[in-house]
Every structure is written in structure tokens, then in C-alpha cells.
């Protein structure tokens, strides 16, 4: 039996070295050192030997079993490594093939810009106050110091409805009156709000002008609000919206509901103020109209202009989006062409 053991041992070593796959290895295992393997069976039959041979045979059989176990474990590791390498090699894909398309949703670019504006202004303590699209003539014009037939009305081309005195708001400024009356508690409370909303103008639709567009108005009312605050606040805004180094310029202008009034330009962030197509080679981009709230408007909002003061500003989210992303045609915004929307 000892010879038989040695012979099995010799053969097992040869056949283990020849096992080149997991399958062959496991076949070898069950044939040799498994529960019904040759070595195991021999080991079990130790009892059939004469007493005097048992000890020596048993010792040698256990030795062989341990050697084969160890050889098996080593071979198994080798084969796993080989097989892993082989499987990695054969598992290559052409990584330049297109990915599988998943439906991707997205916000409209105007919403994205509005959110950016909400966020910046919220950090400065401005809450969002929304008011209606369909307005009465008084709130849209007269209470904002734009009397009927006044030449200042030429600044807005208005959509009138068939109900006398009811129009589509031409700007978000009527929201100033509504905010003062709703939040001001008869001219006793300070206010800091932004007023986003859709506005409407009787204007031919071209690549540069729309009949419908968003505005975002800001309104601050307080006991000690100064034009220097307006300048500081807008400059702080511009640095967040257009970059920390954005230069801002304030030009005198005219709006009936503010005084002093101004237009605000930011140095062109596309050309660094050197002059390009977008800024029409002027180096500046107009971003906002603003001013100190006119005493008449303060009065109409319930405030005493000798005690209270404030400032207001207005900006166009679509215009800002167009500047930032070099959009050449404002008509893209309400066209909702997926090929446009998918770029945002």
C-alpha cells in the first residue's frame, strides 16, 4: 500500500501541474484529495493494514495529504490569477461606442437665471414678492408717477384689453405699489423685496425684442436708504453675477418712478471691456435701470417721503442669459425648441 501511495503521490503531482483551468483543478481535487479521492481512500483504509505497518503508513499518508493540499492551494491561486487576467483580456469593450441615452430633464434657461438671481438677492436679504400679470392702468402707470397722456408713457408700448383700464403689465414696477401697500403696514415698515414676473409690450417680435419677457425688479424702502446704498448694493450684486472683478458704471437716466434715475452698465465680461461684437465695441453692457424711489411713488405706497426713502432697480433675466451664453436671438426663449433647451 505504501508503494501504491507513493505512486498516487507521483501521479498526483504530475497531473496537478497539468491542470490548467478551474474545472481541471476541481476534477483533480475530487479525484485525489476530495472525500472520495484516492489519497483520502487510502488514508481511510489504514485500519486494514497490519498493526506494525499502520503507524508508518499513517504518518506517510498524512504527510502526502498535507503536501498535496498545499500544492493544490498554490495551484488554485495560480489558476485564479491566470483566469482573471484572461477574463479581463477577453472582457474588453470598445469604449468609444456611444453610451445608452437616458432621458435627461432640465429647467428652462429663464428659470435657471431667475433662480440665480433669487439666490444672490436672498443672500442680501431680499425676499421674492410676486404680483399679477393683468394690471389696472392706475397701478401700472398713474401711481408710478406716469399720468395719463404724459409723454413718459411713450416709453412703454402697451397691450390694452377690451376691459377699459385693464392692461397687461408693461413692467414689474406695479409690483412696487402692491408690495408697499401689502407689506408696508401704512408706511410704517421697511421693505426689501425682489419682484420677478412676465411683462408684455406691444413691440414687433425680432431677434432683439419680444412682446413677452421676464423682468426682475428690486425694491428697498427704509428710513435711511441712500443713493450710495443703491450703488453699493448693485455693485455687490454685479460682482456675484458677473465675476468678482466686474466693473460697474452708473449713468444718469430717466424713469418716472425714480429720482435720481440711472442706467447701470457692467464692463463686458466677454471681452474684458476691450470691445467686442456683444458689447457693440463699447466695452460696456447695460444690465439694469435703477434709481431712488420717487417721492410720488413713496406717497402712493403709503410712505412719507420726508422720512422714508428707498431705491428700486429692474433687470431682464432673458437679456442676462443672452449675454452670458451668447444667444443671438431672443425668440429662442419661448420657441421651446428642444435643441435649444437641451443646451442648458
Amino acid at each position: 500500500m505504501l508503494e501504491q501511495l507513493e505512486q498516487i503521490y507521483q501521479e498526483a503531482q504530475v497531473s496537478l501541474a497539468a491542470a490548467a483551468s478551474s474545472e481541471a483543478l476541481h476534477e483533480w481535487e475530487s479525484r485525489t484529495i476530495g472525500k472520495k479521492g484516492a489519497v483520502t481512500l487510502l488514508l481511510r483504509s489504514t485500519g486494514q493494514l497490519p498493526k506494525e505497518e499502520r503507524a508508518a503508513f499513517g504518518k506517510r499518508a498524512n504527510e502526502v495529504k498535507e503536501l498535496l493540499d498545499a500544492a493544490f492551494a498554490e495551484r488554485e491561486t495560480q489558476i485564479k490569477e491566470i483566469e482573471l487576467i484572461r477574463s479581463l483580456e477577453s472582457g474588453q469593450v470598445d469604449i468609444t461606442l456611444p453610451g445608452r441615452a437616458h432621458p435627461v430633464g432640465g429647467l428652462h434657461p429663464s428659470t435657471q437665471t431667475l433662480r440665480e438671481l433669487y439666490h444672490i438677492w436672498a443672500d442680501m436679504g431680499f425676499q421674492v414678492f410676486r404680483s399679477r400679470d393683468v394690471e389696472d392702468d392706475d397701478t401700472n402707470f398713474t401711481l408710478l408717477n406716469i399720468p395719463e397722456h404724459h409723454p413718459a408713457r411713450d416709453m412703454w408700448d402697451t397691450f390694452y384689453t377690451t376691459t377699459p383700464g385693464v392692461i397687461l403689465r408693461t413692467h414689474t414696477s406695479p409690483g412696487q405699489i402692491r408690495a408697499m401697500r401689502e407689506l408696508g403696514e401704512n408706511g410704517t415698515q421697511p421693505i426689501r423685496v425682489i419682484l420677478p414676473g412676465m411683462c408684455y409690450r406691444y413691440e414687433q417680435i425680432t431677434s432683439r425684442s419680444e412682446m413677452q419677457f421676464h423682468q426682475l425688479e428690486g425694491l428697498v424702502i427704509g428710513r435711511n436708504i441712500r443713493m450710495s446704498d443703491l450703488k453699493g448694493t448693485i455693485t455687490a450684486f454685479a460682482r456675484r453675477m458677473f465675476g468678482a472683478k466686474a466693473a460697474v458704471r452708473f449713468r444718469a437716466s430717466y424713469f418716472p418712478f425714480t429720482e435720481p434715475s440711472m442706467e447701470i452698465d457692467v464692463e463686458c465680461f466677454l471681452c474684458g471691456g476691450q470691445g467686442c461684437k456683444v458689447c457693440k465695441y463699447a466695452g460696456w453692457l447695460e444690465i439694469s435701470g435703477a434709481g431712488m424711489v420717487h417721492p410720488t411713488v413713496l406717497r402712493n405706497g403709503g410712505y412719507d417721503p420726508s422720512v422714508w426713502s428707498g431705491f428700486a432697480f429692474g433687470m431682464g433675466p432673458e437679456r442676462m442669459t443672452m449675454l452670458k451664453h451668447r444667444i443671438s436671438d431672443i425668440r429662442y426663449f419661448w420657441g421651446n425648441d428642444l435643441r435649444f433647451l437641451e443646451q442648458f
Partner: protein, 847 residues
Amino acid sequence: MQVPLSWLRDYVDIDIPVEALAERLTLAGLEVGAITYLGIPQGHVPGIRWPKSDHLVWDRDKIVLGAIREVKPHPDADRLVIAMVDYGGTELEATVTGAPNLFEYRGKGPLDRPLWSPFAKEGAEVWDGHSDEPKRMILKEKKLRGIPNRCMVCSEKELGLADSHEGILLLEHSAAYVPGTPLQDVLGDVVLTVELTPNLARCFSILGVAREVAALLDKPLRLPSFEVLMEGAGIAGEVAIDIREADLNPRFTLTLLRGVTIRPSPQWLQRRLQSVGQRPINNVVDVTNYITFEIGQPLHAFDFDKLKARVGGAMPTIITRLAQAGERLHTLDEVERELDAHNILVCDTQGILSLGGVIGGAETEISDSTQNVLLEAASWNFINIRRTMQSQKVFTDAGTRFSRGVHPSQALLGVRRGIELMRQSGGGQVAQGVLDVYPRPAPQVNVDLPIREVHRLLGMELDVMTIANLLMRLGFGVTVQDNLLHVRVPDYRMDISADPIIGQADLIEEIARIYGYDRIPDTIMADAMPPQWNNTALEREERARDVLVSLGLRENISYRLTTPEREALLLPMPAAAPEYVTLANPLTPDRAVLRRTLLVNLLENALANTRHSARQMIFEIGSVYLKRADSPLPDEPRRLSVLLSGERQTADWTGQAVAGTLDFFDLKGMVDGLLDGLHIKGATYERSSHPSLHPGRAANVLLKGAALGDFGELHPIVTGRFELAGAPVLVAEFDLEALLGAMEPNYGTNPLPTTPPVLQDVALVVKEDTTAAAVEAVIVKAGGNLLKAVRLFDVYRGEPIPAGHKSLAYNLVYQADDRTLTDTEVAKVHQKIVKTCERELSATLRA
């Protein structure tokens, strides 16, 4: 408004480059939209950027003032002459030209007085006068019918001054002219295009702009002369004025010039009119236009003899009054007008002469044979003039100025300066005196301004003398008393209010403007922060947008204007149209009313996109507009709408895309996802009778009995109308307020289970009309606490299921929170579910 620098310099010295001046004006609210250079080069001022101009620059050496000493005939051509030009050189230059305006001097020998003309030498760059397209050329020597020629006497077109190429430009003689002077120094100019906001009525003239320039540059203003040589018999008794509506016509003045000769205006005046875009006509009409542009007071000239003839030679009476119903007037622009009752008219006893302040009538206009001119300068109510311009749709230079406001004081200035300029160019004698009827003298406006108000509103300390000086530079009269300024407002500043508080604000703006907005500091608001609050409606709306985007939908924002006809397409059967908020002046017929639904927008957007996109998954959140019976303003509720259509998944090279087109259950999954994302629990679905939806594939979303919205497959008739018939169109429309109001911001959560679940399936055969919701409700009720989840995984009809029946197969998940369930426990609950279904739904267990 066009502002030629040469004209501006009559009234103020300008010692900075024109580009810097334009910048100053722009920053002070007189926005310079363009700088047009005539002959002179564009300047470059550090720090100021203007678009590069590509105008023709007159070379200082090569384009000069020439003096034509003699015009000789061309030996071989009748249509050409040889001008002998003195250009400051040693010899005269023989220059061949075809200019017809030289022919009269041909062969007359040396001229007593030279003809002055722009002269371009060899190598000079000019515009090609013979080209229809703008084209530049460089002068080179060539023979003209045998005579060598290398220079040119120039037309206006060749210099870029005007389009005229009828002849060469001949300048009026001036003793100051020296041959060879660079033409830049003679005719070179710069014209600023100034855009005027409505408050800048005072700047609607060269003098008005000059006044701003003087203030900005701190230079004195030189006024033109208002002296008149009045040598004729008095105007009294020649004509009378009768103002009937003093509020609309506060002042009316007349002067009379007898024995005038109508002829072309002097060249300087013609040139100035051309420089502001006016066409010269004759010396009388030109002066009325000139004064309009010079000082901003429009004038009107009558042929006095025609006026007298209307009343049979008697004394005419000028009457200003409102129009009466049915009155008509044939105006100078050849329009027969039916007048409105608010139109103020200039009439005589025989009828209407002109539309006051806006446009004259044809009958009494100046003609070549006019001998006596009656000159009108009046003052009109600006609001009324604006109304008239709008209702009569007539826009004139006079009306534009009067409609913004011209102070009555200007009438007297205008009528005096106008009649004197007419006398100077047309001869004759001015009648002594001005007929001046002024029933509504404008009050003098004075404003007291404490300097603390300036500090309060500007946030900057300026001392009282600095403030006083800034105002005085603009022509305000200022008396300083400690820290108070008594300000006397000049008459041309009609924009300064007499209201003490508003007047102060008006003055503070002027102080800031002239001081410079850029010199006011930037500060951080020191005022107390107002109470802070959340805009919950907006925050929830934005949350809804985020949820929809996470479901793969693209946000749309559409026009809110549509037509009732387009919205009617949503109804398969004709129905009475609802009331719309309707525009009185739609821009186009297809944007005539405000929408009552978002669905038409989404359908139109989807249709436009089907041309290039195989799948539409879009949503819009926005207002609709519902008329109210009890208020002129409509309700503006907000809606949330979704549209799905097209391929469920775009096919790709893997061939593993989920086949098929989007259907009802895709949309229902989105709706479920939306409700989950908004943490709205307990919504139920009922069959919807929404008329736009397929009656068998439409659901109504209810929460505690209240409707949140409808969704489903669009009715095939409606789908067909929108030409989207290729695939089903799934739409949803929610009442946004109801939807967002159902959100539970403080929603609860479940702890993670610590015990293993037991999974069991059950397939139940039920009658066809038993709904899935009914089956699930029974399962859930019978399952009690131990049944944690129910998921339908199969619906089967057909053999061996009997006809009229269907099999619904569910995965059931059993789990206890506190222990591992035993097989016996699970079997007991499972059995109870099956028995209850058998009992309550007549269900049978599928074999």
C-alpha cells in the same frame, strides 16, 4: 437729436475731445448713441471706447480749400470745362470738370472774385461720385478728352457730406478764406446723435444741449441775440389774437415782416439745417425750422396777404379754440383730417388755419410770391398736443417739442429771433412791436433745499457752496442761507416741480448728475434689515420643477397669448366659448387673448419638436387667466402641465431599448413620481370625464375628495387636430395651488426593518370590471400590519382564464417589526387575504 459740434460751439467753448464730451453727456443722461465724423479723423481718448468709425478722412495736405480763379472752355468737349484752381501753390492747377454749376463762368476770363470749392489733389482719397454704391477711390492722373488731369474740384458726394452730385460744392464767399487751407478746418465737423429721454424736453435744441455742456464743463453759456431791428409801422391794428382756451394755449405771439423777398437761405443756414436732417426750402420757412432746432421754440409763418384776403382785406383775427364735431382740415402733409374734439386749432374768422402746435394748413402757407410774413410763436399744453399727435397720427418736429413741454417764455424769444433772421436774409421791414397775448402766465417756481436732504438721499457730504455752484452751472438762481439753499428755477426747467418735496428730489438729481454719479461712494445699507420671511408658494413651485426635471422632463415657457380658436381645438365637440381676457390691440391675430390652459402651448411645442425629436417629455408651470364677473381684473391661477409622446426609449446600437411608445401608464408613473416627490400621500385616482381626454384612459387625481388635476391620453380627435396622430399623446394638467397646498413639509419617515421579510406571490382571477385598485384595497385591508408591500407584477387574460375574467398576480411582502415571522404566521395571513378576496371580490385563486 442730431447735434453738430460746429453749431454747439456757437454757444459754449469745448476744450475736450469730442469723444470725451460724448462720454460726459452719456454719463449725465444725454446718451450719445453715435458720433458721426465729417472729414476729420476719429480721436482716441484713453479709457473711452467708441466703435471704430470708417468714415472718409480728408487728408490735410491733399484735400484743401481751392479758389477757382478762372473757368476756361475745354477745347474738345462742350460738357467739360477747365477750372484754374489756386490751392495755395505757386501755380494755378488746371482741373478738368463736368460740373454744370461752373458753365456760367466759362470763357469769362479771370474772375473778379474767386469761386471757393473743395479741392482734392493727386493721391487724395474721395468717394467715387459716379458710383451708385458707396465706393472709395484714389485720385490718379489721367487724360480727360486729351487734357491731362490729376486733381479734382469736389461735389458733396465725393466728400461724404451729402448725396448731391449735381455739381461741385461752391462755398459762399468769405474774406477769411485762404486757398490751401485744409478742408478739415473749413468744413470738418462732428455730429453727435443724442438720445433724449422724455424728461429732457429742455434739450430738444442745440442751445438746450449747449446749456448742459456748459454746466458739465463749467463753462459760460453764450446766448444768441434776441435783438430785432424794428423799423416798420407798428403791428397794432394789423391783426388781433383771440385765445378761447387759455389752459391749452397759455400764450400766443405774433410779429410781422413787410416786403420780404422769398429766396434760398444763406448757405450757412442751409448747411446747418442739413446737418440736423432738414431740407432747406426758402429763407422764411427755413428760419422757422432753424429756430425750432436752435432754441427749441417752433414757429409758424403765415402769408399775411392770404390771411387778409380771407377777410376781404379787413384786419384778420387769429382765434385759438377747440375743434368742433365734424370739422376738417387739409394739412401741409396733404392729408384731409377729420378733427377730434380735443384738438386745439389756430383759426381766423373764416375757418381753420392750422392744427395748433403740430402742423399748418395748406391754404395760408408761404409761397414764392409771399411779400408779407406774419410769424407765430405760441405756447401749448403739452399733454393736449401729445393727445392730438396720437389721435391724428401726425408727428412733426414742432409737435414733438410741444408735446414734451416748451415754456411760454420761449415764444417771445422765438418770435423775435425768427423775424430778425428772416429780415436779415429776405430784406423788408419788421413792424414795430410784438403782439403778445399771455392769459396764463407761468408761475415762477422756487424750491427751498436744506443740504441735509442732499446728504440724506445721496449718502454723501457736499458743502453748501459746492451744491450751490453745481446748480448755478445749470442756470438755477441760488441764494444760500446757512445750510439752506433758496433755489430759483429758470423758466426752461419745466421738469422741476413746485411741490416742495418733489422739487427737492428734482434738484438732488441735478446735483448728482452734474457732480457725477461715479463720484458718489458705494456703501452698504445701514438701515435695519426688514423682517425676513419665506415665499412658500414659490419655494414649493420650484420643488415641483425639480421633481419634474428629475423625472426626465424638460421645462417649457410659452407665450401666454393665444386664440379662443386654438383652445377650442381641445374640445372634441363644439361648445360655447368661455370668456377670455381679450386684447384690444393684439400685435398679431394669433396672439389675441390670454390663455385659459397650458395644454395648447405644450401641444404646439411638441408638434414643432416632432420634426426633429422622437420623444417629447415636457412640462410647463405658469398662470392661466380667468375672467371674473365681479372684478375687472381676472383670476390668475397657476397650472402645472405635462406632455409625453413618442418613443419610450430611443433605440440605440445595443438593441436593448424598451420597445414601444409612451402610454397612459408612463404618464401615470410620472404622476406617481410627482406626488411622491412632493410628499403628497393618500391621493386616489378616479375615472375622469375631462372632455379633452380619451374617456377610457383618463384619470382624475383626488386628495380627500378634492380634485388636484386630470391626466390621461388625449382624445384621438384632439390629437388628430394637432397633427400628432402618430403616437398617443399623454397630458396632465394640475391646479398648482391645490397640488402644492397638499404638500406635507414635515413628512414622517419609517425606521429601517431589522427582521427578514417573507415573500409570497398570489394570483387572483377576478371579473373584468373589477379594478386593480379594488383588489389591492381588499388585499391591504385583509393583510393588516404584517403585510408590508403589495406589487402587481402580471395581468393575464386568456386560456385557461374564463372569458370576462382576468388574472392579477401580486408579490406580497410579509414582515413584522419586532420578530422573524414563522411559516405558520405567514400562512395564516396569506390565507386570510385569499379568503377575503374570494368573499368580497368573488375572486378565485388561479391554479
